[in-house]
Amino acid sequence: MSAIREIRVGLATCGIAAGADRVLSALKASLSSSGTDVPIRRVGCVGMCYNEPLVDVVTDDGVVTYGNLDEKGARRIIDEHVLGGEPVDALRVDSDDFLSRQVRIVLENCGIIDPESLDDYRERGGYDGLNRVLKDMSRQDVIDMITEAGLRGRGGGGFPTGLKWSLAEREAGPEKYVICNADEGDPGAFMDRSVLEGDPHRVLEGMAIAGYAIGATHGIIYVRAEYPLAIARLKRAIADASGAGLLGDRILGSDFSFGIKIKAGAGAFVCGEETALIASIEGRRGMPRRRPPYPSESGVWGRPTCINNVETLANVPWITRHGAEAFSAYGMGKSRGTKVFALAGRIRHSGLIEVPMGMTIREIVYDIGGGILDDRPLKAVQMGGPSGGCIPEALADTPVDYEELKTTGAIVGSGGMIVLDDSSCMVDIARFFLDFTQKESCGKCTFCRIGTKRMLEMLTRICSGEGVPEDLETLVTLGEKVKANSLCGLGQTAPNPVLTTAKYFRDEYMAHLVDGACPAKVCKPLLRYEIDPETCRDCKLCVKGCPTGAISQGDGAYQTIDPDVCVQCGRCHQVCPFGAIAVETGKVKAQ
C-alpha cells in the first residue's frame, strides 16, 4: 500500500455549485471520526467541470482522481482508499484523454495548489520571475522578452503585448497604471474566473512585472461583481503578497514600488472595452470614447495606462521563468504559446482546457472534448461569444490561430467555445447573441443602438415564421453597416454571429423564411405537436400539463391536440412518459 500524501478537493465556483462543499465536509467528518490525519488541500478548478465535484487522492505512486461525488462517495474514499488502501474503482474518473493533449502554462497550478496559500504558489516557482526581473533585467529587457515570446492579447484582440507595454513605457510621468481586465462578460466563458479563483498570485505577479516594465506604480484589477469568490481570493492574495514584501514599497529590496487595488464592475458587458472600463473605474457610465488618445497616452484619470487581460498577464510569470524561447516553441505562425478555452454546449467533456495555439477545432472537440453528446453529428462551433462567429463542421480543421480563424469570419476571442449539434438552430443562435449585444449596447453610436435593434426584430420575426425572404439580404447589409459605423469593439463585432451563420447556414435561414420550418426543431412557433394514437396510453398527463386546454379526448382511447388552441409550449412533449407526442415542423402537406 502506497502512503497517502494528501487529499485535494476542487473548490472553485463550478465545484461548489455541484456540491463540493458538502463533499469536503463529509471527507473531514469521516477522517476525524477515524482518527486519521491526512492533510486536505482546497484547490481551484482543474478544468474537468463535467466530473465535478472532484477529489484527488495523492499517493507516493501518483494521483487517483475521483469524480461526480456526493457525501456517500466521499465516505467510501476515506473508508476504502485512505484507510483500507484500496482505490475505489467505481468512483474513479479517467483524466488521461482530457489532460494528455493539453499544454498547461496559464493553468499550470489550477487544481493543484491552494489558491489561498502564498507558500503553495512560491513552492511551484511563484514570484521567482518577478525576483529575476527586478534583479537582472532592465525595463527594456522585459519588454524585449515579452515581444520575443510572441505573447498577444488573450482577451480577444490579439494585440502584441510587448508592443502595448512599450507604448506605455514611452510615456512620461510619475503616475502610470497597469489594469488587469477581469470583466469577463461573454456568456459561456469562465477562463478568467478559473485563473483568479485557482491561482490568484499568478495574476498579481504578472501585473507587478508589467508595472516594472512600463514604469507604473499603481495596479487596478477590474473584476466582475458576479465573481465574489474570485474577489475574495484576490483580496487575500494581495494582503499576503503585500505582507511578504512582494507588493508595496520597494519590492524585494529593489527600487520598484507597486500596489494593487480591486475595483468591482457592476454588470455592463461594454466595460470590457478599454475606454469604457476606464470610465467605469472613474465612476461614470461605462461608455467608450474616441481614440486617440489611446489609454497608453491618457487612461485612468488622464494618466498613461496599460490594460491587459487576466490570461495575458497569467502567461507573464511563466515566460520570465522559462524564457521567451520556451514559450514561442508552442504555437504556429504569429500565434505563439497556448490558449485557454471554456468548452461547453453539446459536448461530453465540458470544462476548461488549455491547448497549444495551432491545434485544430476538430482535435479539441473530439480528442479533448470527447465528442458530441449522444453521439450526434457536430454542426458548428461558436467561438468568441457575442463578438465571434459560428464555424461550420466543414471548417473544423481550421487551427486555433488569430489569422486563420479570422478568414472564417470568427475570431479566437476570449475563449468561449460552444459546441453545437443538429439539435441547435443557427438562426436561434444568431438571435440569442444579437439579443445579448442589443441589450448591452451602451447607446452611444446610432448604428449600434438602433441597427442591432432592427436586426434583432428581423431575427425574431424569422424565428416566429413571419419573416420574408428579403430579410436575409437586409440583415447582411445592415450588419455590415453596424460594423462600419460603431466606435468600439462591441458594435464593430456584434453582427458577426449573424453574418457567419448567414454565410455558412443560408439553407437554414431559407427553411425558416420559405418553408416555415425550423430543421433543428428549436423555434417554437414553427413547430406542431401531434399525438400518435398507436403509442398513446390515454394517461392524460398531457391534458393536465397543457396550459391552454388544447388537448382533449378524440374518437378513440387517445388524446388529440387542437392546433388552433395550442401555443407550442412543448409541455405535453416533456411530460409524456411514452414518447407518444411527435414534434413536426414545416407546412402541413396537403392530404
Binding site: T13, C14, I16, A17, A18, C49, Y50, E52, E175, G185, D186, P187, G188, A189, F190, R193, H218, A225, E226, Y227, G259, K261, K263, A264, G265, A266, G267, A268, F269, S280, I281, E282, G283, R284, R285, G286, W301, A342, A344, G345, R346, S350, G351, Q382, G385, G416, I418, L420, S424, I429, F432, F433, F436, C442, P547, C569, G570, R571, Q574, V575
Partner: protein
C-alpha cells in the same frame, strides 16, 4: 443609513492618496455597498452617495441605471436567477424560464404579489457543465428541467409557512 454614511467616510479617508482621492471614483463602490446592505438602492441612498462624492444626484442616478447590477426597487424574499448563458440556452434554459414565469405568474424582473419570489435572468453563472442552471438565493440548481420547477419552488413555499 448610519452604516452607509460611515462607510462613505471610511472609503474617502482611506483612499485619500492620489490613487482614489478622486471622489467620483467611489460612486460605484458606494452604490454596491448600499445594495449589499439594503437589497436595493433607494432615492435616499442616491442623495447620500451624491453628497459624499461631490456630484449631483442625477449623475449618481445615471450611473445606477446604466449598470445592470443595481436594483432601484426592493426585491422579494427569495431571489431566483436563471442562467441565460450560451450553454444553458442551447440546453433548454428558455423552457426553464417559461416554466418559472408560469408557476410564479410574473415576468423577468418582477416580484410575486406575496413578496416571496423575485425572478431575474442572468447572462452567465459560470457553471456551464451544470447547464441549464439556476440559483435561488445562494443555492445552485443544475440540469434543471421545466418538470422539476414545481417541486423546487414548493420547498421555498413550505419553509415560509413554518
Amino acid at each position: 443609513m448610519n452604516t452607509l454614511s460611515s462607510s462613505v467616510q471610511r472609503t474617502t479617508s482611506a483612499d485619500s492618496g492620489p490613487f482614489d482621492g478622486r471622489r467620483q471614483g467611489n460612486i460605484i463602490p458606494l452604490l454596491q455597498e448600499a445594495q449589499e446592505k439594503f437589497g436595493y438602492i433607494s432615492e435616499e441612498h442616491i442623495d447620500k452617495v451624491a453628497h459624499a462624492t461631490g456630484v449631483s444626484a442625477s449623475v449618481v442616478y445615471g450611473v445606477a441605471t446604466f449598470y445592470s447590477q443595481f436594483r432601484l426597487r426592493a426585491p422579494g424574499k427569495h431571489m431566483i436567477r436563471v442562467c441565460e448563458g450560451t450553454a444553458c440556452h442551447v440546453l433548454g434554459a428558455g423552457d426553464v424560464l417559461e416554466a418559472l414565469k408560469m408557476h410564479l405568474g410574473i415576468d423577468v424582473g418582477g416580484t410575486t404579489a406575496d413578496g416571496r419570489f423575485s425572478l431575474e435572468s442572468v447572462r452567465c453563472l459560470g457553471c456551464c457543465s451544470l447547464a441549464p442552471a439556476m440559483v435561488i438565493d445562494d443555492e445552485t440548481y443544475g440540469r434543471v428541467t421545466p418538470n422539476k420547477i414545481g417541486k423546487i419552488l414548493e420547498t421555498y413555499r413550505k419553509e415560509g409557512n413554518e
